[in-house]
Symmetry: C2
Subunit: 343 residues, 2 copies
């Protein structure tokens, strides 16, 4: 039986849910793929690190979740930082789940480069590297013969990148669009109900739909990073998020929404990219009016959609319905299974 | 360079569009996969057959489309029947595209068995075999080491079967539902506009949405066969179409639709199957009321949708938007590329 050693950078909600899923499926993976998957390193921002080449006992560390401390008697508990783990720890695949810097993609990009430099495989749930450095990283992966998976970057484990790669053989993608930001989706819906902005933000924070600092969502930076990732992978666009023509929803008023409603329309923050006549990919994020009968109008709250148009298969859409944290975990888990298969 | 020989059973709209797509991509496939794909047999119901072990000249036979006769000087033109081609012709993969018998799956099932008996690979665009004999046929394929692909059976080339197999690793499907019949979708929409049944049927026939004998669609037989195929593959249901609890739209009146509208609902012919407590899959096809804001309400005319719920990835949906015949062709073409890869 082969053994696959996993290093986890980040152990927040998603990382913890992934570890739990992996733990619950450990025996099934062993049986199906003849592979013993061991987590040999976990690095967190504030709760220290765990390094254990024999495999960390997930039964022991998962129950703490992403709150509180790891049990004091956890073997290998310490304070090693992420870059040191990348460069020195014993692992075969690294799962990059550190907090996103949406304006640079760092330090995730450096983590991934460090792993490839050692010939290690990489799974990233962090959209920064795919938005800011996809071409460079995928070239490095190819040179080093490493696997590089990132399904979770857009719509959690919903197949988008894998769908295009494994099910749309020989199709050329000509257009990609979608609704990809839950926060703005929620705010626009609540504004349409006649609620005032401040109370929406307050209840949104309680529901977990609105971040402490919501500007990244409201001004369209998050959506721009996501559509950049989509276009870099699906259309080889070679762009960065600052090249996206970006308009957020910060200037959308309740009056705008009511005026749209009077025309049978709703306002959605749409992301889109298409092939221009010059062969370049033009991308935008902006609020658009869509017909209430349009599929896009039905994409409410945390539900999201990506539509892909290709030369051979026309237009198809993939919807992720009201995901929970398990769907993010599955994105990483599904990529891990892909690594197990190719290992 | 390897050579892959293809036998086509059926050369209607879809078969002809597939041949044209294959012809246009011939050089690209050669270059990408180092494989020369040749069509060595074409069998039609009324226009005879073409058998040419050196490869049929698709430039010559495609322009006739599915109308008229093949050029009289086409090498290998004759009157060989499908079963003889299956049993005796020189080919590596057969594409089953003969007319569907929705109550038996024949003669397509016999064609496929014949091909497997000779160790040949099979692509079917015909839903009959997947609805009526999936377990038997997939077992045969496995025993003989043959590839067996059928993406086109539901929603043309839109990834449904491939999606589940290649992108939802280790997920267990617990529920499948969808809107899969364009004819009934069209009729319900037109009834909602206040049109009378006879005029809808007349214009539907002109648009190609309504068959000469529409009973198979209207009474839900087509939808039942499709949901059976979905459930047999995705949930290993082991059922046949006659086990689906089937209600068509033949008793839906304009009054029913107006009453639904007054409640903010529209009527759609929904297909569904889910795992019962007894471990068996229960399937139905029936008209249901859905909220106008529901994604299902947006699935109009020839657009269709399949939703898949799994234990690990929650619920996702895949939509095929307003397909043309090229999307059916791509379904077969995509399966063929899969055969090229595995050959």
């Amino acid at each position: 039986m082969k053994t696959l050693k996993v290093a986890m950078l980040g152990f927040g909600n998603a990382g913890c849910a992934f570890a739990e899923m992996l733990n619950s499926k450990h025996e099934e993976i062993k049986k199906k793929y003849d592979c013993d998957v061991k987590v040999t390193a976990i690095v967190t921002g504030r709760r220290g690190s765990i390094i254990d080449p024999d495999g960390i006992d997930l039964d022991k560390v998962c129950p703490a979740g992403n709150q509180g401390s790891f049990p004091a008697d956890t073997p290998g508990l310490g304070n090693v930082d992420a870059m040191t783990v990348v460069n020195e720890a014993d692992y075969d695949v690294v799962c990059e789940m550190t907090p996103l810097n949406i304006f640079t993609g760092e330090p995730a990009i450096s983590h991934i480069k460090g792993a490839f430099a050692r010939g290690k495989h990489v799974i990233t749930a962090n959209k920064g590297p795919i938005a800011w450095a996809f071409d460079e990283l995928s070239k490095l992966a190819e040179e080093k013969g490493c696997m590089f998976f990132y399904e979770t970057v857009v719509m959690d484990g919903t197949p988008v990148f894998n769908l295009a790669e494994h099910t749309l053989k020989m199709c050329k993608v000509t257009e990609v669009s979608g609704i990809l930001n839950s926060t703005t989706n929620y705010i626009l819906e609540e504004l349409a109900k006649g609620r005032d902005y401040d109370s929406i933000m307050e209840s949104g924070r309680k529901l977990g739909f609105v971040e402490a600092d919501p500007a990244m969502d409201i001004e369209g930076y998050d959506a721009a990073a996501k559509v950049t990732a989509l276009l870099n992978v699906l259309m080889k666009a070679g762009i960065t998020p600052d090249m996206v023509d970006r308009t957020g929803i910060e200037n959308i008023t309740a009056e705008d929404i009511q005026a749209a409603a009077s025309r049978g329309k709703v306002i959605k923050l749409l992301c889109s990219g298409s092939l221009g006549e010059d062969g370049k990919v033009n991308a935008f994020v902006k609020p658009v009016e869509v017909d209430t009968k349009d599929m896009l109008a039905s994409i409410d709250s945390t539900t999201s959609v990506v539509s892909i148009t290709t030369d051979l298969m026309g237009k198809i859409s993939v919807i992720e319905h009201a995901p929970e944290i398990e769907q993010t975990a599955y994105g990483i888990f599904g990529d891990l299974i892909r690594v197990v298969e190719g290992f």
